[in-house]
Structures are given as C-alpha cells and as structure tokens.
Symmetry: D2
Subunit: 375 residues, 4 copies
Amino acid sequence: MSVGPVNINYEVLLSSFRSNVGITSDEVNEAFREIISGLRKMANHNKGSIILLPGSGTTAMEGLTNILKKGNRVLLATNGVFGDRWEEILNKYPIEIKTIRSEPGDNVSEEEILSNLESKKFDAIILTHVETSTGVKSKIEVLRKAKDLGVITVLDSVSGFGGEELDIEKNKIDYVVTASQKALGAPPGIGIAFISQESLSIVERGEGVNGYFIDFKKWLPVMSKLEEGKGSYFATPPVHVILALAKAIELCLKEGMSRRIERHQTVAKAIRSGLESLGLKIVAKRGFEANTVTAVYLEGVSPIDFLNIAKQEGVEFASSVHPKIANRSFRIGHMGWVTKNFAILALSVIERTLRRLGKDIEMGRGVRSAQEVFI
Amino acid sequence: MSVGPVNINYEVLLSSFRSNVGITSDEVNEAFREIISGLRKMANHNKGSIILLPGSGTTAMEGLTNILKKGNRVLLATNGVFGDRWEEILNKYPIEIKTIRSEPGDNVSEEEILSNLESKKFDAIILTHVETSTGVKSKIEVLRKAKDLGVITVLDSVSGFGGEELDIEKNKIDYVVTASQKALGAPPGIGIAFISQESLSIVERGEGVNGYFIDFKKWLPVMSKLEEGKGSYFATPPVHVILALAKAIELCLKEGMSRRIERHQTVAKAIRSGLESLGLKIVAKRGFEANTVTAVYLEGVSPIDFLNIAKQEGVEFASSVHPKIANRSFRIGHMGWVTKNFAILALSVIERTLRRLGKDIEMGRGVRSAQEVFI
Amino acid sequence: MSVGPVNINYEVLLSSFRSNVGITSDEVNEAFREIISGLRKMANHNKGSIILLPGSGTTAMEGLTNILKKGNRVLLATNGVFGDRWEEILNKYPIEIKTIRSEPGDNVSEEEILSNLESKKFDAIILTHVETSTGVKSKIEVLRKAKDLGVITVLDSVSGFGGEELDIEKNKIDYVVTASQKALGAPPGIGIAFISQESLSIVERGEGVNGYFIDFKKWLPVMSKLEEGKGSYFATPPVHVILALAKAIELCLKEGMSRRIERHQTVAKAIRSGLESLGLKIVAKRGFEANTVTAVYLEGVSPIDFLNIAKQEGVEFASSVHPKIANRSFRIGHMGWVTKNFAILALSVIERTLRRLGKDIEMGRGVRSAQEVFI
Amino acid sequence: MSVGPVNINYEVLLSSFRSNVGITSDEVNEAFREIISGLRKMANHNKGSIILLPGSGTTAMEGLTNILKKGNRVLLATNGVFGDRWEEILNKYPIEIKTIRSEPGDNVSEEEILSNLESKKFDAIILTHVETSTGVKSKIEVLRKAKDLGVITVLDSVSGFGGEELDIEKNKIDYVVTASQKALGAPPGIGIAFISQESLSIVERGEGVNGYFIDFKKWLPVMSKLEEGKGSYFATPPVHVILALAKAIELCLKEGMSRRIERHQTVAKAIRSGLESLGLKIVAKRGFEANTVTAVYLEGVSPIDFLNIAKQEGVEFASSVHPKIANRSFRIGHMGWVTKNFAILALSVIERTLRRLGKDIEMGRGVRSAQEVFI
C-alpha cells in the first residue's frame, strides 16, 4: 500500500507481457490511440493536446516550461514536498516564482491565491491536486477563477487523476500533469501532460524555456499521428508500459469515472474512520482529505518500527516524506484498484502492529468502523 | 528484427512480472545494485558514476548538459540521423557546436576529428559508437587521443554497448550514453549515463547548463545509495524495467562480454554475407560495419512494399530513417539475444520477399552464405 | 477461498510460464527430480516409491487398485462425500468393501476401526485424512495399529498433506494419496501416490486389479529414472503443472514443514474463533477440526444467497457438498499459501454478507476474535 | 520441435496465467463451454458427446472401455508404437483383440482391414490417424465402410486433429481420441473423447468394462452442464490447461480449419522437400506422410549425436521411439502454431548439424527446396 507505483491489476500487467513489440507496430499504435482517446474522455479534455512522455510525473511537470516564457512570473501554492518540487524545477529556468505555503495538513486558501493573482503580477498559477506528502486535496475550482483573471492555470494531478474528480474544460485548466503509476493503476514509466488549446500557441511559436527531450514542438506532431492511430515516435517510449496503460484506461472507462471516484472515496472514508476509531490522527484537516492517499500521525511509536512490523504483518505502508512530520507519521496509498477489503486489510495490520509496539489498542475496533462505513 | 526495442529474452521478461513492487522495496534495491555493479564490469568503468534515468537514450544524451558549461564549444562528429540529434539537443542550450559530417555509410575520419581538436577551439568531442541510421561503427580509440588533447570525450553508445566492445577507462571516455532496450536486451524505459570521475566535479559544482529532471546533482546521491543496496529515489523509476534490466545484465555477465560481442559479430557477418550473395549492397562501407544493426540498399523495390511483404512472411524489419537513403534502403536490427538462427530467418524472409516483389533471386542463396559463415 | 484449486503463489505460477518445454527436457527432468526428492522429505517416505499421475487426486485414489488383489476385502472408514468416493471406485473392481460411516462433523472412532480389523476379515483399511466435505480431520495413528494387525493401510490425504502433519514411515502407511492443487499450493493436474516398499511387491508381480493408465508397473520404472534426474515418460505429463509443482515444493521445503503446518493451524484457529464469535457453528466437532478446510453451518440464510453476496463482497467461498448438510452450510478453504490476513479478509466479508442478509451481526466482532488469536 | 507438447502460442499461454480460478467459476465455465462448442465445429461432431478428461491422450484412449462390453472382439490396425498401445490397454480388460501391423513407414491396407471385418468376427475397429512414431497418416475413410459393416469405429487422432482433416459425422466414427498438447497447440493435461450418439447408449446402460476415473456415466452429466455454461465437476480439472485450451480453440476457429490444415500441409511439404534434397529419407512412404510429424532416417550418424548437436544449434528434435528404426532415425514435430519460418529453421539446423557430424552436405540446399515450396 505504497503511494505509487500501486498494486497493478492482473489484466493490466498481462497486457504488457510481450517479448517483441516494435515502437510503431500496429499493437503499440492502437494502444497509444486508445490511451489518448480514453484520457480525453476521463478528464473532459477535448480541444487541446495530450502528451505521453517517457519518464515520470516529474518529466511532465518540467514540461510546463514549454508554455512559460523567459521572465514569466509564477505563483506557486504548495501544501508540501511535491508542491515544493515546482520551485526546484522552475529555479532551473529564467522564471520568477512566488511561493505560498500551508502547514502540513492544511491547504493554501483560495483567498490567498486570488488576492495574489489580482495584483496582476503573475503569468501563471500552479496548484497541486493531491499533495502526496500530506494527503491533502485542493479545491481546484480556484483555477477557473484564476483563468478569468488571465493567468495560465496549472494543476499537478499526479496523485489525483483517476481517483479524484477532474474536469479540465469546466475548470479551465491550461496544463495538467499526471503519471501512469498512480490512480490510473498502470506501471510507472510515463508522465502525462494535458495542454489547453490556448497554450499550444506558445509551444508552436517555440517561446517556451524548455530543454530538448521535453520539447513539445517535437512531441506534438508525434502525438497527433498516434491519436490518429498512425505510427510515429520521437524518443523511444517504454512500450510495455504503454500496452499496460492502454489496458488500465480501458478498465477505467469500463468502470466509469464516477463509479471509480466513488470507490476511491468509500475506501478512503473507511480507512479514515478506522484510523480515527483507533485513536490515530489524520494529517489532512477535515474537508481536505484526499481519496487516494492518507497521511497519519503516530504517537509514541517510531515510524520506522511501525513500517517494519507492518511489513512483517503483511502490508508495506509508505514512509512519510514531509520534513516537518516525517518522524511522527506514515502514509497509506489507496488508489488504483483498491477495494473494500483493501481497507480492512490495512486496518487489521495497523491494529496488530500497534499492539505489537505496545499500544493499548482494542483489536478489531478499526475494522469495525470501516465495516460500518461499508454497510 | 527492429533496431530496438529488441526481442526480449523470456527470463528477462518474466523478471518484470510483478504486480506490486515498491520503488524502495528490497527487490528493487537489489536490482539497482546489480545493474550498477554489472554495468561497471561490462564497460570497465570503475571510478566515475553511473546514472539510470527514467526515460530513453535521448534523456541520457541530454544529461550531457550536466558537464557542459555555458559557452562551451563542442565538436560533433556525426555519421547520420542519431549523431545529428546531438546538434538539436545542444542547440537548446548556450553551447556552441561545430558539426562534421560523413556521407551515409561513411565515417568521419580520425584525422578530421583530431585536426579540429588540435585547433584548441573545443571543450568537448562527441562521437556516435554505432550510427543506427546507417549501421556504421566508429573507431572509438580516437577519443583516447582527444582526451590527451584535453577535451571532454563523449560517446553515444546507445546502439553499441552490449554488442560492440567498449572499454571506458582504456579509451578515456568522460561521458557514455546507452539505453536498456538495445544490445542490453531489456525493455525500453531507462537511459544510462556513465560519467568519469573527472567530470563529476563539474556536476558537483553545479556548473552544467542542465534542466531539472536530468539534474545529476539530484541523481548522484540517489545512485550512490542504490549502488550500496539502499533504497533511494528522486523521480519514480519504471520499476518493472529495472527488474528486467537487472536480469538482462545478469545474463550478460553469465555469457561474458567477449562471448557476447563475438556472438553479435558472427550473426552480423552471416547476415552481411547472405545479403551480399543475394546481390544486395550494405550501406556501411567495408570495415565500418556494426555488429548490431545493418542498413541495406534496395534496388528497384520500394522499401514500403518490402517491409510489408516481409512482415507477411513473418519478420518485421525496420524502415530507413536517414533522409538521404530512406527511399532506397531498410534496416535489420540484430542485437540483444540474437542467434545464428536469427540470421537464417532474416535471410530466408528476405529471399521470399524479394522474389514476391519480382526480383530474380536464387532461393536459398543467402541462407547458404550465412550457413557457410557458421560452419 | 475455495477448497482447491487454491490461490497460487506468484513464484509458483511464474515457474510454469514456458511456451516450449519438452517432456524429457533438462528443465522438466530436474523438476521431477526435485518434486520426488522433496515429497520424500516432507512426508518422511524414504523407502517405497512415489508416483506422479497426470489427472487428479481421484486418479491417484484409483491407483490403489495396483495393490489390491481380486477378492480382497477392504474396510472403509468414511466421514463424508470424499470418503464415500472410495466405495464408488472399488465397486468398479472385484473387491469387497465394508463401509463404516460417521455423521457430518464426526469421525469414525478408532475403536470401531480396530474392532472391525481384529475380526481378521479385512486385507486393507482406508481412512480420509481431512474430509473436505465436512472439514473433519482423522487421527491417523490408528493406521499404525492397523498395520500391526497385518492389513494394508491407506490414507487419502488429498486435502491434508501440506497443511496437516503426515509422517508416513512412523504411521506405517502403505498407500497415501494427495494432489498438486490443495495444501501443496500448485495448479491442479497431478495426482500423487506414495507406496510402501512392502506393497511394491504386489505391483511388481502384477497382482493388482488396476487398469492401464494407472498401471504402476508402467509408471514405476519411469519414476525411478525421473528420481535419478533422467528423462523418461509413459503418458504425457502436464509439464506446466510439473514445473509449478517443483517450485511449490521448493517453497514448502524453504518454509519447513513444521512452520508450514503451524501457519495453517493458526489461520484455521483464527477463522474458527472469528466464526464462533459471530454465532456461527463449525461443522467439525471440537478436536476434529482440520487445518485446511472449515465447514460452517448457516442458520436462517440460504447458502446460495450467502455465496453470491460474499462473492460481491470480494471472496468466493465454496458451497457445501455433503448431502445431509448442503442446504444449511458452506465451506472455507484455507490451505496452501494462506496468511493471517487471509483469515481477516474472510471474516470481514462474512460479517458484511450476513449483515446484508439481514442477520444482526456485530460488525468487526469476528475480525476482533481472529486478531486476538494472532496477538 | 518435439512431437508434443508443442510450442505454445503466446496468447494461449497468457490465458492460463491466473493465480486464482475456482473449478466452477464463471471464467472456467465459459472456457469449458467454448471448448466443447468449438470442438464440435472443428470436427463436425454435432450429435454425440465430447468428454474432456484430466490426464493425457492415453486417458482418453482407455475411455474406449466405456463402449466396449465384456467379451467384445476388437480389430486393431496399427502402424507403430502408439497404435500398439491400444493392445496394451485392452489387454487389461476382458476384450479380445486381433492386431494387424504394418512395417515402419507403411500403412495397414484398407483391403486387409475390410476383409477382416467382413469375417463378421469383430465388434470394433481401431485405427490411428497419425502414427506419431513413424509420421504415417491413415486413410480414415475406411471407417465409414467399417461402420456400414456394423462395427464400432474408433480413431486415435491424438497427433492428427488440428493438423489433419477430420470430419467425424461424414466418416461415421463412434469414438475419436485426441489431446490438448498436439496440433491443438495448448499445454498437456487434457485428453479428449468424441463419442457418437449411438455409442452413448452403451455408456448409459453401464455396459462398458471401464474403471472409475474414466467412467463416462460420471462425466456425461458434467459435460452436459458445462456445455450449457453451467458449473459442474466430477474430478478436479486442470483449470489452467482448460483456460489455455479455450484460447487455443478460439484461435483455431479464427484461423479456420481449412486454412489451419493447409498451413500444416505446406510446412510439412517444405520440410520433406528440404530433407530429401539433403539426401535424407522420409520414413513414411509416399502418399502416407502426415502433416504433423515427420520421421526421418539417418545414415552413418548416431541419432543421439544428431539430437545433441541440433540442440546446440538451437532446435530440439524428437528421438525416434519405434524399436525397429529407433537407432537410425529421428522425428520432427510440426504441429500447432508452425509457420514457414519454422521449416526454414529446422532445415538450416539440420544442415549445420549434419555438416558438423562430418556429412558432406551442401549448405543451404535444404532451405532452398523449402523456399521453393513456399514460392
């Protein structure tokens, strides 16, 4: 139950099991076509482009430089470690950044964002959909308002898309980043960027500050051809991941996005309910909890010991990475193909682990709360 | 028989078949350790660092910007399309480039390279080990001489390493690029960079012109830990590819590099001998032929028709990508896990394909020549 | 959580994933050798023979006819449906049978068995180790006493071996039957027979009443060669199952039989404890409960509805097959690679299922009891 | 290139890759339904029954005892080792057999069969479609004539069905045996019996001399339910093989039986043509050659040496098993998913092997002949 790469559905894994796949074979062409067409439907992104980048979510984050021009000023609202990464990325480029931060578990407020933007000093606003280090979800509607103020709107939905609602057109988002290995439930290897029609003109004019591998001017014609089902390539894609991602997206569409998000929501709610009934405190403040990842405070127990014993009991949880809370919290990833029984398993292992670490836990208490959510 | 991704050995593919692998799980940590330690032996690269980059060979090519400083002048010797790519990459950065080119099938001469370098105007020299678009192999000893002239030496061995001899220390190469999906015989998804001890100081001082994802300052501590078998990460690696690559490298070490290279050589020789006995002309000039890929001229036959019919006969060859010869040639990839029977298969399909296209080919003639090479 | 084929361990499954395996290839020969040598250790069966029969456990049951002569009288002690199968089998042959039966959940008593045997009217006694239809375990020590009375001793351990203690030599058993797909944790396809040294003479003299496919006179020389690691065959074995079984047995030996049995015991105990705390009644009487399968009474709930809803909740349990209780019970298979979390999962699904069927179940109660067994 | 289990198609193998399949799960039920319905079409067997027996082809051969009554007289026409097996099987039962034999490579003549049957002394006639030990194909039309004489007609098509034409209704065959691992191209583990409507009455009245596991009275109701897509079982089937077989049959239907047989024919013809041009002699007499297996004489070369060196060259051929020719012949299996390139590969390896063994072979000669068959 790491925070990604997630447990991969069997059918998805089997799809990638080919010894011999050319990068422009019919099989791969068809997979690309299905991925792009599926992503459009899942995110309601009908006009702009979608780029599948060999690499990781970070590759797609850096791809933002394609629509930022030299000297652009960016407002970054960050709730934790992965939000902060944007600062590190843009610092490598001739871009000015102003960062507004929240405390762990909290969310930068809409007011703070909008009042900054209203100062007219910014060309772009960056928001993290789900901050993986704290399990905090942002209210993405602020981007729509930001867009009305004339700025480029950017959403990092690496840990959100597939498990949280995301309507790109409705929310007027210019640039959305996600990755194959999170709530989409495929193996890692592909960063995904959704770019609005409007922003494409910056790419086409080559005004971005980007490097070569992530140069969308190179990728756009490739992606257009692939969307038409024709073979094309710029840098070799990880074809096995592409085949798996196509199957994952087929399963997403089959499940339906609303059912998929509801499933994530129910599992997340049950996990939180179970944790709280065991006396554990959720990092994310009430109302800010993500469907896909939950960070949890530990009291009187070393996270390292906790993770080790939980592993012996059968589940690998994720360590905390937020410097302010790393020594007193851990994380549960619950995205992709999670089910009710996934929540039960997690909670039963947490119960046994805490008891083995000397905590006076009522056995079965956490599971009971989860069960009550389900019934 | 594409030029990469290659046919993947069964054991290699099975190694990657895991539904649930954490990026810092013991299994992945051990795989990273084995890959790095194996690569050191295979390339005789004991002192500097090795970086495994999520992405492709191009990602690792762009990584060169970590050891190039603003204003550096680079001499690029290119034999074709993939050599030319360096120019496009470096043009994205404040680097000056002088390019010296050969005709398709030819090799930029050692004299030309050295006489340019002796002018003292260059900080670095870039050479392509095997030019995938023409099947031409460079003589990499020139890099040793270049090093003695004080320049940074760079080798693109994406289509070479694993199938051609490569001794990094002996040839004093500062930066070598390769990728998982070529002669190493694993799935695509990982670009690999070997950096000399000397060049690391540029990275450590942060003097490179690089972007964020390929920032080696971020990757070096991660790689150090992974080489010690400890978990660490910067951007999510494609773990399934890592597991497969570890197995591929295990098999490379088991086979032994000299035997592996000899196998590639024998298969390549048999293929060339067969092609020539059928009256076909090899693009690479005599003495410049690579072990890993062969480009072949077609006369009186459309490459598109040729490739389509060959596919019906059971083998997918690669189309030509070199603009000067694309309309009158095709390519055969023969790297990774190729065997004698691979050559036989290729030639028998070429015979039937040419006959079906109306060429007056003596059936069995190409196979006979290959058989004679083997006996 | 069916009663077999069980969930198969990943490594076991991967072992069988070969497209091209000759029946006398080195790979298959080695697998056979390891299976036979492993089974000897696991069951403490050093002197007699082991025969691996393509087919199922029933094939190996019918193999008993190799050591029964025309007119032999057999005493059959049966606790349910699978015990009764022996009667059906032997009725096809010129063998006389006397059957002594227990009620569902009960065990034929040692006294009844021994007093029958002391009448001197029998040549053989057949006992079922674990009766899969009721989850009842026999006390196999009675076979040792039976042997001292001079009869051929037969144990059906199809649902026992691998999860229950079994020492063939110590208990002086002449013929033991098991199968690949139960507590050994491999795919179905192989019936396994252990034959004592003493009984082999009947086979060698060809005195049995057996048919052709199960003719051990044909199989014995094949098995001898395979045990020596040499290729041999009589009827084509299901080679993929053989490869998987070899890996399963490797993992059994690695775990150690005592640890393996203890694991089965703990999981079984937790399941029973959870069920009872939910007010459910175990079919097997106290003291007769098997480690590998539990039959459970349902009150006021249709087994068909129960199984359907449990499946929706994520677990497939097994229907009951014992005619006397089929309409008011179901079964849980818990053998092979089961873990603590397997018990938790089963119980949490049973809780939700019963609640959905209108039973007034305290949610979490069953899981709590299981958790308490584990701590 | 063994004579079975054959190389298994990738898709077929992947279909069987499930860790958790209940024997009456929807997935398995559907697989059974598809297999039975597919086999009916492929063999034109619409009225009688089809039984899928866990085990091997031999299990299905012994199943014939279900329609033979005590004292029945059987005429057996055998062309080699696998024909002879019928004698061994029936000798275990109260059946009288008369065997008529041909020399290796030859076929028992229709005249001999019919003149025997006209004596009115026989209740059944058994014929082998393809004798795997010699590569000889029978003319099965004789069975139609035999049927008109009133006898039960039996065909062993273990090595024929899937690669040779077989119309059960047209040829009036009462009992046909085949197996999963031969020309059907699935893994071994399932013996298949086709029984005519007429013969079923013998089964229903329980008049056969059969044992228990192969008792069709037990299997018929199971198979009826499975054909309707309902779960049912008697002895545990090898579910993984069932899933694979369903996919193999899906692919057979997709290819079409006439195309499938033509493919086998072309490959077989090319192999024979190549062998003969190398001076090798085919065991099967002209006109009797099978599409699925070819036995070949070796002169001046030890078969053991030949097989070992061929294996080094990359292909495992099968040893000869016919006692009269075993020391001077070998066999090539070419059934299931064979292609043109399969023939080329086999011949090129044979050329190199013979040369290495000191034979004065013109390299490429065999491949040329095969190529000429293809063009």
